[in-house]
Amino acid sequence: MFRRFYDTLYLYALGILKNEAEAQEIVNDVFLRIWQKRDKIQINYGIKPYLFRSVFNASTDCLRQKQASGQRSFIEIDDQIMEMVGVNEEYIFNMLQLEEVEHDVHEAINQLPKQCREIFCSSRFELLTYNEISERFNISVNTVKTQIGRAIDSLRQQLGEYL
Protein backbone atom coordinates (compact mmCIF):
# COMPACT_ATOMS: atom_id res chain seq x y z
CA MET A 1 0.00 0.00 0.00
CA PHE A 2 2.80 2.35 0.96
CA ARG A 3 4.66 1.72 -2.26
CA ARG A 4 1.58 2.23 -4.37
CA PHE A 5 0.35 5.47 -2.89
CA TYR A 6 3.35 7.22 -1.44
CA ASP A 7 4.25 9.31 -4.48
CA THR A 8 0.77 10.48 -5.21
CA LEU A 9 0.08 11.44 -1.64
CA TYR A 10 3.42 13.14 -1.29
CA LEU A 11 2.73 15.24 -4.38
CA TYR A 12 -0.64 16.10 -3.04
CA ALA A 13 0.64 17.15 0.39
CA LEU A 14 3.39 19.12 -1.24
CA GLY A 15 0.81 21.01 -3.27
CA ILE A 16 -0.79 22.18 -0.05
CA LEU A 17 2.26 22.66 2.16
CA LYS A 18 4.87 23.73 -0.37
CA ASN A 19 7.50 22.25 1.92
CA GLU A 20 9.15 18.93 1.13
CA ALA A 21 10.17 17.88 4.63
CA GLU A 22 6.75 18.60 6.06
CA ALA A 23 4.96 16.87 3.21
CA GLN A 24 7.06 13.77 3.72
CA GLU A 25 6.45 13.80 7.45
CA ILE A 26 2.74 14.16 7.05
CA VAL A 27 2.38 11.34 4.55
CA ASN A 28 4.47 9.17 6.83
CA ASP A 29 2.30 10.10 9.77
CA VAL A 30 -0.86 9.19 7.93
CA PHE A 31 0.50 5.74 7.11
CA LEU A 32 1.67 5.32 10.65
CA ARG A 33 -1.69 6.20 12.10
CA ILE A 34 -3.44 3.83 9.73
CA TRP A 35 -1.10 1.11 10.88
CA GLN A 36 -1.78 1.83 14.53
CA LYS A 37 -5.51 1.99 14.08
CA ARG A 38 -5.70 -0.85 11.59
CA ASP A 39 -8.30 -2.75 13.62
CA LYS A 40 -10.58 0.18 14.19
CA ILE A 41 -10.62 2.14 10.96
CA GLN A 42 -13.74 1.94 8.90
CA ILE A 43 -13.34 2.63 5.24
CA ASN A 44 -16.53 3.20 3.34
CA TYR A 45 -15.50 4.49 -0.04
CA GLY A 46 -12.24 2.72 -0.81
CA ILE A 47 -8.76 3.28 0.44
CA LYS A 48 -7.74 5.99 -1.98
CA PRO A 49 -10.18 8.73 -1.02
CA TYR A 50 -9.51 7.83 2.58
CA LEU A 51 -5.80 8.34 2.19
CA PHE A 52 -6.25 11.58 0.32
CA ARG A 53 -8.69 12.86 2.88
CA SER A 54 -6.34 11.97 5.72
CA VAL A 55 -3.42 13.67 4.05
CA PHE A 56 -5.55 16.70 3.32
CA ASN A 57 -6.73 16.97 6.92
CA ALA A 58 -3.24 16.52 8.32
CA SER A 59 -1.72 19.05 5.91
CA THR A 60 -4.30 21.72 6.54
CA ASP A 61 -4.07 21.17 10.29
CA CYS A 62 -0.35 21.60 10.02
CA LEU A 63 -0.79 24.85 8.09
CA ARG A 64 -3.29 26.08 10.63
CA GLN A 65 -1.06 25.30 13.57
CA LYS A 66 1.83 27.12 11.99
CA GLN A 67 -0.29 30.13 11.30
CA ALA A 68 -1.72 30.07 14.80
CA SER A 69 1.69 29.83 16.41
CA GLY A 70 2.85 32.81 14.40
CA GLN A 71 5.57 31.04 12.44
CA ARG A 72 4.00 31.47 9.08
CA SER A 73 5.59 29.56 6.31
CA PHE A 74 3.14 31.47 4.17
CA ILE A 75 4.10 34.95 3.34
CA GLU A 76 1.27 37.35 3.10
CA ILE A 77 0.67 37.21 -0.61
CA ASP A 78 0.16 33.45 -0.55
CA ASP A 79 -2.39 33.93 2.18
CA GLN A 80 -4.24 36.44 0.07
CA ILE A 81 -4.30 34.18 -2.95
CA MET A 82 -5.53 31.33 -0.79
CA GLU A 83 -8.25 33.53 0.57
CA MET A 84 -9.26 34.53 -2.95
CA VAL A 85 -9.66 31.00 -4.26
CA GLY A 86 -9.87 28.75 -1.20
CA VAL A 87 -8.37 25.36 -0.71
CA ASN A 88 -9.30 22.87 -3.36
CA GLU A 89 -10.84 20.26 -1.19
CA GLU A 90 -14.05 18.54 -2.15
CA TYR A 91 -13.09 18.50 -5.78
CA ILE A 92 -10.39 15.88 -5.60
CA PHE A 93 -12.36 13.71 -3.22
CA ASN A 94 -15.33 13.74 -5.50
CA MET A 95 -13.12 12.93 -8.46
CA LEU A 96 -11.62 9.97 -6.64
CA GLN A 97 -15.04 8.42 -6.34
CA LEU A 98 -15.27 8.14 -10.09
CA GLU A 99 -13.30 5.19 -11.30
CA GLU A 100 -12.84 6.31 -14.84
CA VAL A 101 -11.10 9.52 -13.84
CA GLU A 102 -7.76 7.99 -13.05
CA HIS A 103 -7.76 6.07 -16.29
CA ASP A 104 -8.67 9.15 -18.30
CA VAL A 105 -5.96 11.26 -16.68
CA HIS A 106 -3.48 8.57 -17.46
CA GLU A 107 -4.64 8.39 -21.07
CA ALA A 108 -4.55 12.15 -21.49
CA ILE A 109 -0.99 12.35 -20.25
CA ASN A 110 0.08 9.45 -22.45
CA GLN A 111 -1.40 11.09 -25.49
CA LEU A 112 0.85 14.11 -25.21
CA PRO A 113 3.63 14.29 -27.82
CA LYS A 114 6.74 12.56 -26.49
CA GLN A 115 8.89 15.55 -25.60
CA CYS A 116 5.96 17.49 -24.29
CA ARG A 117 4.99 14.57 -22.05
CA GLU A 118 8.52 14.06 -20.74
CA ILE A 119 8.86 17.71 -19.87
CA PHE A 120 5.48 17.85 -18.22
CA CYS A 121 6.16 14.71 -16.18
CA SER A 122 9.57 15.98 -15.08
CA SER A 123 7.91 19.06 -13.82
CA ARG A 124 4.73 17.65 -12.35
CA PHE A 125 5.95 14.36 -10.92
CA GLU A 126 9.67 14.75 -10.40
CA LEU A 127 9.12 18.30 -9.26
CA LEU A 128 12.05 19.65 -11.25
CA THR A 129 12.16 23.38 -11.75
CA TYR A 130 12.03 24.97 -15.20
CA ASN A 131 15.79 25.49 -14.98
CA GLU A 132 16.53 21.89 -14.07
CA ILE A 133 14.38 20.67 -16.93
CA SER A 134 16.07 22.97 -19.41
CA GLU A 135 19.41 21.51 -18.37
CA ARG A 136 18.24 17.93 -18.55
CA PHE A 137 16.80 18.24 -22.04
CA ASN A 138 19.29 20.79 -23.19
CA ILE A 139 16.65 23.29 -24.26
CA SER A 140 15.92 26.86 -23.26
CA VAL A 141 13.75 27.72 -20.26
CA ASN A 142 11.34 29.39 -22.63
CA THR A 143 10.91 26.19 -24.59
CA VAL A 144 10.24 24.35 -21.34
CA LYS A 145 7.52 26.83 -20.53
CA THR A 146 6.02 26.64 -23.98
CA GLN A 147 5.92 22.85 -23.79
CA ILE A 148 4.28 22.89 -20.40
CA GLY A 149 1.77 25.40 -21.70
CA ARG A 150 1.02 23.03 -24.57
CA ALA A 151 0.64 20.14 -22.17
CA ILE A 152 -1.82 22.14 -20.08
CA ASP A 153 -3.85 23.06 -23.16
CA SER A 154 -4.03 19.51 -24.34
CA LEU A 155 -4.93 18.16 -20.90
CA ARG A 156 -7.57 20.84 -20.43
CA GLN A 157 -9.10 19.77 -23.69
CA GLN A 158 -8.97 16.04 -22.91
CA LEU A 159 -10.18 16.33 -19.36
CA GLY A 160 -12.48 19.30 -19.83
CA GLU A 161 -15.53 17.50 -18.56
CA TYR A 162 -13.97 17.04 -15.15
CA LEU A 163 -12.70 20.58 -14.60
Binding site: D7, T8, Y12, G15, Q42, I109, E126
Partner: protein, 383 residues
Protein backbone atom coordinates in the same frame (compact mmCIF):
# COMPACT_ATOMS: atom_id res chain seq x y z
CA UNK B 1 -14.31 36.07 -25.83
CA UNK B 2 -11.20 35.77 -27.99
CA UNK B 3 -9.36 38.32 -25.95
CA UNK B 4 -10.41 36.48 -22.82
CA UNK B 5 -8.89 33.32 -24.32
CA UNK B 6 -5.64 35.14 -24.96
CA UNK B 7 -5.48 36.45 -21.45
CA UNK B 8 -6.12 32.98 -20.11
CA UNK B 9 -3.25 31.68 -22.26
CA UNK B 10 -0.94 34.02 -20.46
CA UNK B 11 -2.21 33.19 -17.00
CA UNK B 12 -2.43 29.41 -17.26
CA UNK B 13 1.34 29.16 -17.10
CA UNK B 14 1.54 31.71 -14.32
CA UNK B 15 -0.98 29.66 -12.36
CA UNK B 16 0.99 26.51 -13.04
CA UNK B 17 4.18 28.19 -11.85
CA UNK B 18 2.40 29.32 -8.72
CA UNK B 19 0.97 25.88 -7.99
CA UNK B 20 4.31 24.20 -8.54
CA UNK B 21 5.93 26.70 -6.19
CA UNK B 22 8.04 28.38 -8.86
CA UNK B 23 6.43 31.78 -9.05
CA UNK B 24 8.45 34.84 -8.06
CA UNK B 25 7.02 37.41 -5.68
CA UNK B 26 6.37 39.65 -8.65
CA UNK B 27 4.46 36.93 -10.45
CA UNK B 28 2.47 36.18 -7.34
CA UNK B 29 1.28 39.74 -6.95
CA UNK B 30 0.42 39.83 -10.62
CA UNK B 31 -1.65 36.70 -10.14
CA UNK B 32 -3.31 38.11 -7.04
CA UNK B 33 -4.29 41.32 -8.82
CA UNK B 34 -5.69 39.37 -11.69
CA UNK B 35 -7.69 37.13 -9.36
CA UNK B 36 -9.15 40.16 -7.64
CA UNK B 37 -10.33 41.51 -10.95
CA UNK B 38 -13.22 39.20 -11.68
CA UNK B 39 -15.16 36.13 -10.80
CA UNK B 40 -14.38 34.84 -14.27
CA UNK B 41 -10.67 34.95 -13.57
CA UNK B 42 -11.15 33.10 -10.33
CA UNK B 43 -13.16 30.47 -12.18
CA UNK B 44 -10.39 30.00 -14.64
CA UNK B 45 -7.90 29.69 -11.80
CA UNK B 46 -10.10 27.08 -10.20
CA UNK B 47 -10.22 24.97 -13.32
CA UNK B 48 -6.42 25.16 -13.63
CA UNK B 49 -6.07 24.16 -10.01
CA UNK B 50 -8.45 21.28 -10.61
CA UNK B 51 -6.34 20.10 -13.51
CA UNK B 52 -3.23 20.38 -11.38
CA UNK B 53 -4.79 18.33 -8.59
CA UNK B 54 -6.24 15.88 -11.04
CA UNK B 55 -2.89 15.03 -12.55
CA UNK B 56 -1.49 14.27 -9.10
CA UNK B 57 -3.93 11.37 -8.96
CA UNK B 58 -2.31 9.71 -11.90
CA UNK B 59 0.17 6.95 -11.18
CA UNK B 60 2.51 7.93 -13.99
CA UNK B 61 4.99 9.10 -11.42
CA UNK B 62 7.00 6.49 -9.51
CA UNK B 63 10.16 8.47 -9.96
CA UNK B 64 10.71 10.01 -6.55
CA UNK B 65 12.03 6.70 -5.33
CA UNK B 66 15.23 7.85 -3.59
CA UNK B 67 13.06 9.80 -1.30
CA UNK B 68 10.60 6.98 -0.98
CA UNK B 69 13.05 4.37 0.27
CA UNK B 70 14.18 6.69 3.03
CA UNK B 71 10.62 7.45 3.97
CA UNK B 72 9.77 3.77 4.04
CA UNK B 73 12.66 2.98 6.39
CA UNK B 74 11.63 5.81 8.64
CA UNK B 75 8.09 4.55 8.71
CA UNK B 76 9.21 1.02 9.54
CA UNK B 77 11.21 2.29 12.49
CA UNK B 78 8.29 4.28 13.74
CA UNK B 79 5.91 1.37 13.46
CA UNK B 80 8.23 -0.80 15.50
CA UNK B 81 8.63 1.73 18.26
CA UNK B 82 5.00 2.73 18.17
CA UNK B 83 3.80 -0.78 18.85
CA UNK B 84 5.72 -0.62 22.12
CA UNK B 85 4.54 2.88 22.86
CA UNK B 86 0.92 2.07 22.11
CA UNK B 87 0.07 1.09 25.64
CA UNK B 88 1.76 4.14 27.04
CA UNK B 89 -0.17 6.29 24.59
CA UNK B 90 -3.43 4.85 25.80
CA UNK B 91 -2.63 5.89 29.33
CA UNK B 92 -1.83 9.37 28.07
CA UNK B 93 -5.14 9.62 26.37
CA UNK B 94 -7.04 8.81 29.54
CA UNK B 95 -5.04 11.34 31.52
CA UNK B 96 -5.78 13.99 28.93
CA UNK B 97 -9.47 13.24 28.98
CA UNK B 98 -9.50 13.68 32.74
CA UNK B 99 -7.56 16.90 32.41
CA UNK B 100 -10.00 18.11 29.80
CA UNK B 101 -12.95 17.44 32.02
CA UNK B 102 -11.21 19.21 34.86
CA UNK B 103 -10.27 22.16 32.74
CA UNK B 104 -13.68 22.93 31.37
CA UNK B 105 -13.86 26.67 31.07
CA UNK B 106 -16.99 28.73 31.21
CA UNK B 107 -17.41 32.22 29.89
CA UNK B 108 -20.59 34.04 30.62
CA UNK B 109 -21.21 36.92 28.34
CA UNK B 110 -24.14 39.19 29.09
CA UNK B 111 -25.32 36.44 31.32
CA UNK B 112 -26.73 34.58 28.40
CA UNK B 113 -23.96 32.73 26.63
CA UNK B 114 -21.91 30.05 28.13
CA UNK B 115 -19.08 29.07 25.86
CA UNK B 116 -17.50 25.81 26.62
CA UNK B 117 -14.17 25.09 25.17
CA UNK B 118 -13.35 21.49 25.55
CA UNK B 119 -10.04 20.33 24.32
CA UNK B 120 -8.85 16.84 24.43
CA UNK B 121 -6.00 15.05 22.76
CA UNK B 122 -2.46 13.97 23.33
CA UNK B 123 0.82 15.63 22.52
CA UNK B 124 -0.10 15.63 18.82
CA UNK B 125 -3.35 17.46 19.29
CA UNK B 126 -5.32 17.74 16.08
CA UNK B 127 -7.70 20.58 15.31
CA UNK B 128 -10.34 18.01 14.51
CA UNK B 129 -10.21 16.87 18.13
CA UNK B 130 -10.91 20.29 19.60
CA UNK B 131 -14.59 20.78 20.19
CA UNK B 132 -16.18 24.17 20.65
CA UNK B 133 -19.47 24.17 22.41
CA UNK B 134 -21.86 27.04 22.86
CA UNK B 135 -24.54 26.54 25.46
CA UNK B 136 -27.41 28.95 25.77
CA UNK B 137 -29.14 28.38 29.09
CA UNK B 138 -32.84 28.61 29.54
CA UNK B 139 -33.97 32.20 29.73
CA UNK B 140 -31.20 33.26 27.34
CA UNK B 141 -30.68 33.81 23.66
CA UNK B 142 -27.50 34.30 21.76
CA UNK B 143 -26.05 35.37 18.49
CA UNK B 144 -22.67 34.36 17.14
CA UNK B 145 -20.55 34.34 14.03
CA UNK B 146 -18.71 31.15 13.09
CA UNK B 147 -15.13 31.21 11.74
CA UNK B 148 -16.34 31.28 8.12
CA UNK B 149 -18.64 34.25 8.70
CA UNK B 150 -21.82 32.23 9.01
CA UNK B 151 -24.23 33.97 11.36
CA UNK B 152 -26.07 31.89 13.97
CA UNK B 153 -28.83 32.81 16.37
CA UNK B 154 -29.45 30.33 19.17
CA UNK B 155 -32.69 30.21 21.08
CA UNK B 156 -33.04 29.55 24.80
CA UNK B 157 -31.98 26.16 26.06
CA UNK B 158 -29.87 25.25 23.02
CA UNK B 159 -26.40 24.00 22.43
CA UNK B 160 -24.27 24.11 19.33
CA UNK B 161 -21.04 22.21 18.84
CA UNK B 162 -18.40 22.31 16.15
CA UNK B 163 -14.92 20.99 15.79
CA UNK B 164 -11.71 22.92 15.53
CA UNK B 165 -11.43 22.13 11.85
CA UNK B 166 -14.73 23.86 11.10
CA UNK B 167 -14.48 25.99 8.00
CA UNK B 168 -11.27 24.33 7.09
CA UNK B 169 -11.98 20.75 6.22
CA UNK B 170 -15.73 20.91 6.68
CA UNK B 171 -18.54 23.09 7.89
CA UNK B 172 -20.35 20.69 10.20
CA UNK B 173 -22.20 21.80 13.31
CA UNK B 174 -24.23 19.79 15.79
CA UNK B 175 -27.39 21.28 17.20
CA UNK B 176 -29.63 20.45 20.10
CA UNK B 177 -32.29 23.08 20.45
CA UNK B 178 -33.25 25.83 18.08
CA UNK B 179 -31.05 27.84 15.78
CA UNK B 180 -31.40 30.22 12.86
CA UNK B 181 -28.55 30.02 10.37
CA UNK B 182 -27.55 32.58 7.80
CA UNK B 183 -24.91 30.66 5.89
CA UNK B 184 -22.04 32.22 3.97
CA UNK B 185 -21.87 30.82 0.49
CA UNK B 186 -19.13 28.30 -0.24
CA UNK B 187 -19.93 25.72 -2.90
CA UNK B 188 -16.75 23.81 -2.08
CA UNK B 189 -17.83 23.13 1.49
CA UNK B 190 -21.48 22.54 2.22
CA UNK B 191 -22.70 23.75 5.59
CA UNK B 192 -24.22 20.84 7.50
CA UNK B 193 -26.39 21.01 10.61
CA UNK B 194 -26.63 17.66 12.33
CA UNK B 195 -29.67 17.56 14.59
CA UNK B 196 -30.18 14.19 16.24
CA UNK B 197 -28.92 12.42 13.14
CA UNK B 198 -30.99 14.47 10.71
CA UNK B 199 -28.61 16.30 8.41
CA UNK B 200 -29.54 19.63 6.89
CA UNK B 201 -27.12 20.53 4.13
CA UNK B 202 -26.84 24.00 2.67
CA UNK B 203 -24.50 25.91 0.44
CA UNK B 204 -25.50 29.48 1.13
CA UNK B 205 -28.94 30.07 2.57
CA UNK B 206 -30.99 31.11 5.58
CA UNK B 207 -32.94 28.54 7.51
CA UNK B 208 -34.25 27.66 10.94
CA UNK B 209 -33.84 24.32 12.70
CA UNK B 210 -35.74 23.37 15.80
CA UNK B 211 -34.66 20.15 17.49
CA UNK B 212 -35.03 20.20 21.25
CA UNK B 213 -34.09 17.04 23.10
CA UNK B 214 -37.41 17.03 24.95
CA UNK B 215 -39.49 17.35 21.79
CA UNK B 216 -40.32 14.57 19.43
CA UNK B 217 -39.72 16.44 16.22
CA UNK B 218 -37.03 18.08 14.16
CA UNK B 219 -38.46 21.03 12.27
CA UNK B 220 -36.62 22.76 9.45
CA UNK B 221 -37.88 25.99 7.90
CA UNK B 222 -36.23 27.35 4.78
CA UNK B 223 -36.35 31.13 4.37
CA UNK B 224 -34.28 31.51 1.24
CA UNK B 225 -31.95 29.49 -0.96
CA UNK B 226 -31.83 25.72 -1.02
CA UNK B 227 -31.26 23.06 1.57
CA UNK B 228 -31.19 19.31 1.46
CA UNK B 229 -32.41 17.21 4.35
CA UNK B 230 -30.99 13.77 4.82
CA UNK B 231 -32.16 11.31 7.40
CA UNK B 232 -33.06 7.70 7.64
CA UNK B 233 -35.03 6.96 4.50
CA UNK B 234 -35.45 10.66 3.87
CA UNK B 235 -33.87 12.78 1.21
CA UNK B 236 -35.69 16.02 0.64
CA UNK B 237 -34.82 19.19 -1.21
CA UNK B 238 -36.55 22.14 0.39
CA UNK B 239 -37.76 25.19 -1.47
CA UNK B 240 -38.08 28.57 0.18
CA UNK B 241 -41.09 28.96 2.47
CA UNK B 242 -41.33 25.25 3.09
CA UNK B 243 -41.28 23.56 6.45
CA UNK B 244 -40.32 19.94 7.03
CA UNK B 245 -41.14 18.15 10.24
CA UNK B 246 -39.42 14.83 10.92
CA UNK B 247 -40.31 12.69 13.90
CA UNK B 248 -37.29 11.56 15.82
CA UNK B 249 -38.72 8.10 16.45
CA UNK B 250 -38.90 7.45 12.75
CA UNK B 251 -35.25 8.38 12.60
CA UNK B 252 -34.21 6.41 15.69
CA UNK B 253 -31.83 9.19 16.39
CA UNK B 254 -28.47 8.74 17.99
CA UNK B 255 -28.10 10.81 21.12
CA UNK B 256 -25.15 12.51 22.67
CA UNK B 257 -21.67 12.21 21.28
CA UNK B 258 -20.25 13.86 18.25
CA UNK B 259 -19.73 11.43 15.46
CA UNK B 260 -16.14 10.73 14.52
CA UNK B 261 -14.65 12.85 11.83
CA UNK B 262 -16.37 11.78 8.69
CA UNK B 263 -13.18 11.20 6.85
CA UNK B 264 -14.68 9.29 4.04
CA UNK B 265 -18.17 10.65 3.85
CA UNK B 266 -19.04 11.85 0.44
CA UNK B 267 -20.87 15.11 0.22
CA UNK B 268 -23.29 14.98 -2.61
CA UNK B 269 -24.13 17.95 -4.71
CA UNK B 270 -27.42 19.66 -4.15
CA UNK B 271 -28.46 19.05 -7.70
CA UNK B 272 -30.24 15.74 -7.65
CA UNK B 273 -32.56 15.93 -4.68
CA UNK B 274 -35.68 13.90 -4.85
CA UNK B 275 -39.05 15.52 -4.96
CA UNK B 276 -40.93 15.96 -1.78
CA UNK B 277 -41.10 12.65 -0.10
CA UNK B 278 -43.96 12.37 2.30
CA UNK B 279 -43.71 9.13 4.17
CA UNK B 280 -43.54 7.84 7.71
CA UNK B 281 -42.85 10.57 10.19
CA UNK B 282 -42.28 13.25 7.57
CA UNK B 283 -44.51 16.24 7.04
CA UNK B 284 -43.94 18.97 4.49
CA UNK B 285 -45.75 22.30 4.47
CA UNK B 286 -45.40 24.72 1.60
CA UNK B 287 -45.88 28.45 1.35
CA UNK B 288 -45.78 29.06 5.06
CA UNK B 289 -45.21 32.39 6.71
CA UNK B 290 -41.62 31.76 7.73
CA UNK B 291 -41.81 34.63 10.23
CA UNK B 292 -43.76 32.44 12.57
CA UNK B 293 -40.78 30.11 12.75
CA UNK B 294 -37.96 32.60 12.75
CA UNK B 295 -39.15 35.76 14.49
CA UNK B 296 -37.80 34.56 17.83
CA UNK B 297 -34.38 35.71 16.72
CA UNK B 298 -35.68 39.28 16.63
CA UNK B 299 -37.30 38.87 20.05
CA UNK B 300 -40.76 38.53 18.60
CA UNK B 301 -42.79 35.53 19.59
CA UNK B 302 -45.61 34.71 17.25
CA UNK B 303 -48.11 32.16 18.46
CA UNK B 304 -50.25 30.64 15.79
CA UNK B 305 -52.92 28.35 17.13
CA UNK B 306 -50.56 26.66 19.59
CA UNK B 307 -51.72 24.42 22.40
CA UNK B 308 -51.10 25.45 25.99
CA UNK B 309 -48.82 22.45 26.24
CA UNK B 310 -46.50 23.74 23.52
CA UNK B 311 -46.69 27.28 24.83
CA UNK B 312 -45.69 26.20 28.31
CA UNK B 313 -42.67 24.37 26.87
CA UNK B 314 -41.56 27.58 25.24
CA UNK B 315 -42.22 29.57 28.40
CA UNK B 316 -40.05 27.15 30.35
CA UNK B 317 -37.13 27.75 28.02
CA UNK B 318 -37.72 31.43 27.53
CA UNK B 319 -37.96 32.32 31.21
CA UNK B 320 -36.13 29.41 32.81
CA UNK B 321 -39.09 28.29 34.87
CA UNK B 322 -40.96 25.06 35.34
CA UNK B 323 -44.55 25.08 34.23
CA UNK B 324 -46.99 22.72 35.86
CA UNK B 325 -50.38 22.31 34.31
CA UNK B 326 -52.87 20.98 36.75
CA UNK B 327 -55.32 19.26 34.49
CA UNK B 328 -54.51 17.70 31.14
CA UNK B 329 -57.73 19.17 29.83
CA UNK B 330 -56.11 22.61 29.86
CA UNK B 331 -53.49 21.42 27.42
CA UNK B 332 -56.08 21.42 24.70
CA UNK B 333 -56.66 25.18 24.78
CA UNK B 334 -55.18 26.87 21.78
CA UNK B 335 -53.90 30.40 21.55
CA UNK B 336 -52.93 32.85 18.85
CA UNK B 337 -51.06 36.05 19.45
CA UNK B 338 -47.84 37.96 19.32
CA UNK B 339 -45.50 38.99 22.09
CA UNK B 340 -42.57 41.30 21.97
CA UNK B 341 -40.80 42.17 25.19
CA UNK B 342 -43.51 41.17 27.60
CA UNK B 343 -42.52 39.70 30.93
CA UNK B 344 -43.58 36.25 32.05
CA UNK B 345 -46.35 37.77 34.17
CA UNK B 346 -47.63 39.90 31.32
CA UNK B 347 -47.82 36.89 29.02
CA UNK B 348 -49.55 34.79 31.64
CA UNK B 349 -52.00 37.62 32.30
CA UNK B 350 -52.95 37.67 28.65
CA UNK B 351 -53.42 33.92 28.63
CA UNK B 352 -55.48 34.19 31.77
CA UNK B 353 -57.74 36.72 30.07
CA UNK B 354 -58.51 34.47 27.15
CA UNK B 355 -58.97 31.14 28.89
CA UNK B 356 -60.49 29.95 32.14
CA UNK B 357 -57.22 29.52 33.96
CA UNK B 358 -55.43 30.93 36.97
CA UNK B 359 -51.72 30.99 37.51
CA UNK B 360 -49.36 31.23 40.44
CA UNK B 361 -45.63 31.77 40.41
CA UNK B 362 -43.63 30.41 43.28
CA UNK B 363 -39.85 29.98 43.30
CA UNK B 364 -39.50 29.49 39.58
CA UNK B 365 -42.48 27.20 39.31
CA UNK B 366 -45.53 28.35 37.41
CA UNK B 367 -48.65 26.45 38.34
CA UNK B 368 -51.54 26.75 35.96
CA UNK B 369 -54.90 25.79 37.35
CA UNK B 370 -58.34 25.62 35.95
CA UNK B 371 -60.75 28.30 37.15
CA UNK B 372 -63.83 26.18 37.57
CA UNK B 373 -66.38 28.96 37.65
CA UNK B 374 -65.22 30.57 34.45
CA UNK B 375 -64.68 27.18 32.92
CA UNK B 376 -68.30 26.31 33.49
CA UNK B 377 -69.33 29.59 31.84
CA UNK B 378 -67.09 28.77 28.90
CA UNK B 379 -68.68 25.37 28.50
CA UNK B 380 -72.10 27.07 28.39
CA UNK B 381 -70.94 29.51 25.76
CA UNK B 382 -69.42 26.77 23.65
CA UNK B 383 -72.61 24.80 23.85
Amino acid sequence: MDSQENINQEYKLLIYSYLSNQASEEEKSKLLNWLQESEENRKFYKSCQNLYDLTSVSQVSGKISGNKQGAWNQLKDKIETSDNAENAAKRWKITYRLLAVASVMLFFSLGTIATLLLSKGGPNRQLSEVVHEIIVPKGGKSELVLPDGTHVWLNAGSRLRYKGNYGFTNRNVYLEGEGYFSVVKNPQKPFVVDAFGVKIKALGTSFNVKAYPEEREVTTTLVEGKVKIEGKGVNIMLKPKQVVVLTKEAQDCPKGNLPDDENTTQTQGLGRGSDLAVNNGVKVDSDVNTNIYTSWKDNIWIINSESLENISQILERKFNVTVQIESPRLNQYRFTGRFNKETLEQILNVIELTAPIKYEINKGVVSIKEERKRSANYQDIIK
